[in-house]
């Protein structure tokens, strides 16, 4: 370092160094702008929803009645609906996504893996309104007439599968969300699995393991927390997805129990009613549940980042 210093000085404290300063400064400004945007959004949400928090306090989170006529707002059904729909999506998308990622990174030859990866990422490019329309006209009638009636007949004794099913509802929303988060889960999981050092695989092969054993016993455990992170990032998208969910979730007002119940997520409630919200505390309360959603999503994303960064350093023991 000490020998290099004079050379740097020789290069000229003029142009290069000025460019350095400008570059460093502008990266700081733009980097800061991203943080500032988040800060401004959060601040606006807090300020605009303050009257609702003052009026209702924790009732906004714990109460179940959302009644614009009487100007009383409790968002528990929407919070539950948000988490419930996201959980269904995760239960469906995680196994499919992780197995697809294992196939792509461990088994598929390049000429299969590359087009398949591309196709899966294309899934993320379908506008959510289009997926929603497909959900209304194709998926929900299909679910109602086939899967749902079978579920009710076989598992109907469980409260989660109590009928009847009208097609639209939490289950349909969960399936739609699963499709939408699948690309996230597959591409991140594949990335994490590919970053597992080859020495892991070679050691297992050296012990005489099959490819299946290598994938499941050497690669997957090594990448475990990264795969969990991928699922949580998918969950983040599922929590905030609006348009497609609004179209198939049925927009019910009660806390959902069965997957066939009509429910509402926070994002769909805001999207559907904000435009006509007026008077009293309705607008402020809608902003308040937006703040709740922001906090939920932030916490999950932080958790996901932590898990993914640990995965890159190595396995959890």
């Amino acid at each position: 370092m000490t020998t290099l210093a004079p050379i740097g000085r020789l290069r000229g404290r003029t142009a290069t160094r000025r460019a350095d300063v400008v570059f460093r400064g502008s990266t700081r400004v733009f980097g800061g702008a991203v943080i500032a945007t988040l800060g401004v959004v959060a601040a606006v949400l807090v300020v605009s929803s303050a009257p609702a928090w003052t009026r209702f306090g924790v009732d906004l989170i714990t109460q179940t009645t959302w009644d614009p006529v009487r100007d009383v707002y409790g968002a528990l059904p929407f919070i539950v609906g948000t988490l419930y729909a996201a959980a269904i999506a995760l239960l469906i998308a995680t196994p499919i996504g992780v197995l697809t990622a294992i196939f792509l990174s461990e088994f598929a030859p390049r000429r299969v893996a590359i087009p398949l990866t591309f196709t899966i990422e294309l899934l993320a490019a379908i506008p959510s309104v289009v997926i929603g329309l497909w959900g209304i006209f194709v998926l929900s009638p299909f679910l109602r007439d086939t899967v749902d009636s079978w579920l009710i007949a076989t598992l109907g004794w469980l409260p989660f599968f109590r009928g009847p099913s009208f097609g639209v509802g939490l289950g349909a929303a969960g399936v739609i969300l699963a499709i939408m988060i699948l690309p996230t889960i597959v591409s991140i999981s594949r990335e994490v699995l590919s970053s597992v050092p080859n020495s892991q695989r070679e050691a297992m092969f050296g012990l005489g393991a099959t490819r299946w054993e290598v994938a499941v016993k050497a690669v997957l455990p090594y990448a475990r927390s990264g795969v969990v992170g991928a699922a949580i990032l998918g969950l983040g998208r599922a929590l905030g997805e609006t348009m497609a969910v609004t179209m198939v979730i049925g927009n019910g007002q009660d806390i959902p129990v069965s997957i066939f119940d009509q429910a509402q997520t926070i994002a769909s409630k805001i999207a559907v009613t904000f435009n006509e919200a007026s008077g009293g505390f309705q607008t402020q309360s809608l902003v308040a549940i937006g703040l709740i959603l922001l906090v939920m999503t932030l916490l999950l994303n932080v958790a996901a980042r932590l898990l993914v960064s640990r995965a890159q350093r190595g396995p959890i023991r």
């Binding site: 009644d67 009847p164 097609g167 049925g250 009509q262 009613t273 435009n275 006509e276 919200a277 008077g279």
Partner: protein, 381 residues
Amino acid sequence: MIITSPGRLSALALAAAFAVGACSGSASPSPAASTAPGASAAASPGLGGPAAPSGDVSLAGAGATFPGPLYQVWVEKYAAAHPNVKIDYQAIGSGGGIKNITAQTVAFGASDATMKDAEIAALPAGTKILHIPTALGAVVFIYNLPGVTELNLDGPTAADIFLGTIKKWNDPKIAALNSSATLPGADIVVVHRSDGSGTTNAFTTYLGAVSDGWKNGPGVGKEVNWPTGIGAKGNDGVAGGVKQTPGAIGYVELNYATQAALATAKLKNADGAFVAASVDGVTAAADASVATFPADFRAAPIINGAGAATYPIAAYTYLLVYADQKDQVKGQALVSFVYWALTDGQADEAGLGYAPLPKAVQDKALAELHTITSGGTPIWP
């Protein structure tokens, strides 16, 4: 409320695109118009109505989606007669119309529900807004019950269905009204609006009027706490939900039901007759209620009006305009347009599924137009 069928949607999009494009070219009145506004010569064709300004003027309006198709036709026809007046109407919803006119970002607003006292109190000091009725609509029950082509309902039964206390189609209360029909034992699926809407306001006003259980339960408003059912966005969402779900019942605006050709229920009116929703039935309701039309024009939905042909759920839709116009030329254009809409424009209504104003209400609305001023001077004395 969303405007729906592909044909109408694309027509609207085209009209909107045209109007926006046209507006950008003439965003401000020409100097000639603003210096000599009174010197305009072009009058409304035919009648002795208010004169339109002679210079280029553009008016922006926003609000209810329910009269959107009607207003688009009006805007096009009026623009054909007055090429110098550009009017742009954005169908963003009644609440949006009230918000925009309150914020003074539009020349006129539009709303299905009248402004509440609290909304009027929220206006900037010294601002007065007039409600000008332009048309009437009705709320219609639509249903999907294979094999049942005719369905009769009365108020209390409808309220019980939407309260979720009547759960099956062969419930004795429904069967008693439909002795000739074979009702299946299927579950009733209620489909309601998930967004706030003037349609819901008229509909819940009806349910509240016929059922104490509804009045003390979900209550009356643009958005209520629905006790049961599937929520769908817009008239098209409700219609789509009903079409796709066997056993479903929902409610939409009359003009929507007319154009989408949905199975609609007959509703028992105050005289005990079961009437299908129609423009005539709405006109009958409006005629029967003109005596009680309020002085401030803020008429509640017309529920259970008298008369054998009267349909029980009808409601006015309104333009919202400032009583005192800041810009004399724009005010002149607005008064001229509204006058045209209230007179010549009424002929367009029935064909689009709207009911024209009764003569007495039309006269009152025209009289109200005379009171619009600019800087204290009446625009159309």
